[in-house]
């Protein structure tokens, strides 16, 4: 397949940005790349201790239950947080060279997805440990859910990054909103624990249904098509909106950055 030089060049640029994001982050640390795995594991440990020892949640296979949702969530939360400061943090690049700015956001989301991919073996191990061995559905469900979630995160990333240029307070608000969303997402509790009347509010949270779908896939080998469907609709809406907003607002970046 013949691809044009511009496409080739942009792919190369994306590749370099992703590698920079994935590997160089921990370049000068002793454990290096291991932190990619250690970070989510340690976070998980904190939650595990808090909810099984101190709060005594009565949920079956709690470690698996928690991680099956926490890992996809971290991909979402990490990307959105980093993306918010991506345009404002790369002022010199944006003023020095011409390149498609959305590649910066794309590289953040891809890098975080790579981190997520590294947690999959942990989930696989847990599945066997809790005697809930995976079926072929994993092979179908993971790519589909990953695509849906990728689109949602990328769309949101486009929005928050460009909005933060014009309204810098957003960077600080995002941290709070993300932690609010964390508690509004069925991560440490099952979706079924939410009262019927409050369910509609969950749709305000773009990832609550995809997250639940991830957990159904990992723990029960089921493809929860209704939830995946809701996720897909969210993805299309968010992506279109994000794309439109980014195109509209990123043209005049040089005047405000």
């Amino acid at each position: 397949m013949q691809i044009s030089k511009t496409t080739r060049q942009q792919l190369d640029l994306l590749w370099l940005l992703v590698t920079k994001e994935v590997t160089f982050r921990y370049k000068r640390t002793f454990l290096g790349f291991l932190w990619t795995l250690l970070n989510p594991l340690l976070t998980a440990l904190v939650f595990f201790v808090a909810f099984t020892i101190f709060m005594r949640f009565e949920i079956e296979d709690f470690a698996f239950f928690l991680l099956a949702a926490l890992f996809p969530w971290s991909w979402f939360a990490g990307s959105v947080t980093v993306a918010t400061g991506t345009l404002t943090g790369n002022v010199s690049l944006i003023r020095k060279v011409v390149f498609p700015k959305h590649l910066l956001i794309l590289s953040v989301v891809i890098a975080q997805m790579v981190n997520f991919a590294f947690t999959l073996p942990v989930l696989l191990g847990l599945a066997f440990f809790y005697d809930l061995p995976p079926s072929l559905n994993w092979l179908i469900g993971i790519p589909i859910l990953a695509t849906v979630q990728f689109a949602i995160i990328y769309g949101l990333g486009l929005m928050v990054s460009v909005a933060n240029v014009y309204f810098r307070d957003l960077e600080y608000m995002v941290t709070v909103v993300i932690s609010l969303l964390f508690w509004m997402t069925p991560i440490i509790y099952p979706l079924s624990a939410v009262p019927e009347g409050a369910r509609p509010f969950l749709t305000l949270n773009p990832v609550s249904y995809p997250i639940q779908a991830w957990r159904d896939l990992f723990m029960h080998n089921t493809l929860n098509w209704p939830y995946i469907g809701i996720g897909l609709v969210t993805a299309v809406v968010v992506l279109l909106l994000g794309h439109w907003l980014f195109r509209r607002m990123s043209g005049r970046l040089d005047e405000v950055l």
């Binding site: 190369d12 640029l13 920079k20 160089f24 010199s92 020095k96 060279v97 040089d254 005047e255 405000v256």
Partner: protein, 265 residues
């Protein structure tokens, strides 16, 4: 990439025979910036509420109706005092900024020699930074690989390229950046006062590389406060004042006019 034979003329001749094709066409360019570059915060909003809601839409016009063309192989100098709009004009030509009004067309691969070293990262080695910077400037990774030896040789940093950039002196970093920029096979070169890169011998070398490029038919726009450099490197010049073209013509003439006006001021 064969380096063109050294042309020992101070002011490079225009390429003979080739019909003068327009490479840069600027038509009535206007560029405004919001006057309040610092976004007003809540405090300012409360204090200056009335003023805030009135004429805030007024901007600062950095360029007011600038028009010019540059033909292929031509070298255009831009002179003027600080704040005259020279750098704004260069950023429009480069494409990192869009004109508020007007039409601008630039044909060909633009290479900025404005601020060098886009994408440089202190924790990466010299070689890794060459790749990042090269791709940032529009090369593919394969193209960077093909030119790697040339770039390293030009930078004279062969012993250091495997060390992280943070161990380099600032002069060495600039040499590396200049070496990458000059090897991107530019068709349109945008230069902003960076002839002073590195030590004396490297300055001579970078100056010669620049003259070679211009002599080799690369279209150049050159911003400088050094009237000597403008006279030496440019065919034509534009004198910008407060965002408008005050004079345009043969480089030596414009420089003379400009100097005369400065003497009176």
């Amino acid at each position: 990439m064969a380096r063109p034979e050294l042309v020992e003329v101070p002011c490079p001749e225009l390429v003979e025979g080739a019909s003068p094709a327009t490479v840069i066409a600027a038509e009535n360019l206007w560029k405004s910036f919001p006057l309040q570059r610092d976004r007003p915060g809540l405090k300012e909003l409360l204090v200056n509420a009335p003023r805030f809601f009135n004429g805030r839409t007024k901007g600062f016009w950095a360029l007011r109706g600038v028009s010019f063309t540059v033909n292929k192989g031509e070298s255009l100098g831009i002179i003027g005092r600080n704040g005259a709009g020279k750098s704004t004009l260069l950023s429009l030509l480069l494409g990192v900024a869009l004109p508020t009004k007007g039409r601008l067309e630039v044909r060909g691969n633009r290479t900025p020699l404005l601020e060098l070293g886009a994408g440089f990262h202190p924790d990466l080695t010299g070689i890794e930074n060459i790749y990042i910077n090269g791709v940032m400037l529009g090369l593919t990774r394969a193209e960077v690989r093909a030119r790697l030896d040339e770039i390293i040789a030009f930078s004279e940093l062969a012993e250091f390229v495997h060390l992280p950039l943070r161990t380099y002196s600032s002069g060495m970093q600039m040499r590396l950046a200049f070496a990458v920029a000059i090897h991107t096979s530019p068709e349109v070169l945008l230069v902003d006062e960076i002839l002073a890169v590195g030590d004396e011998s490297f300055q001579r070398k970078s100056g010669k590389a620049l003259t070679d490029l211009i002599g080799g038919g690369v279209t150049t726009v050159f911003v400088s406060h050094s009237m000597e450099a403008i006279k030496k490197l440019c065919h034509r010049a534009i004198w910008l004042e407060q965002g408008e073209v005050r004079a345009e013509g043969e480089a030596g003439q414009v420089v003379e006019e400009y100097l005369k006006a400065q003497g009176q001021a």
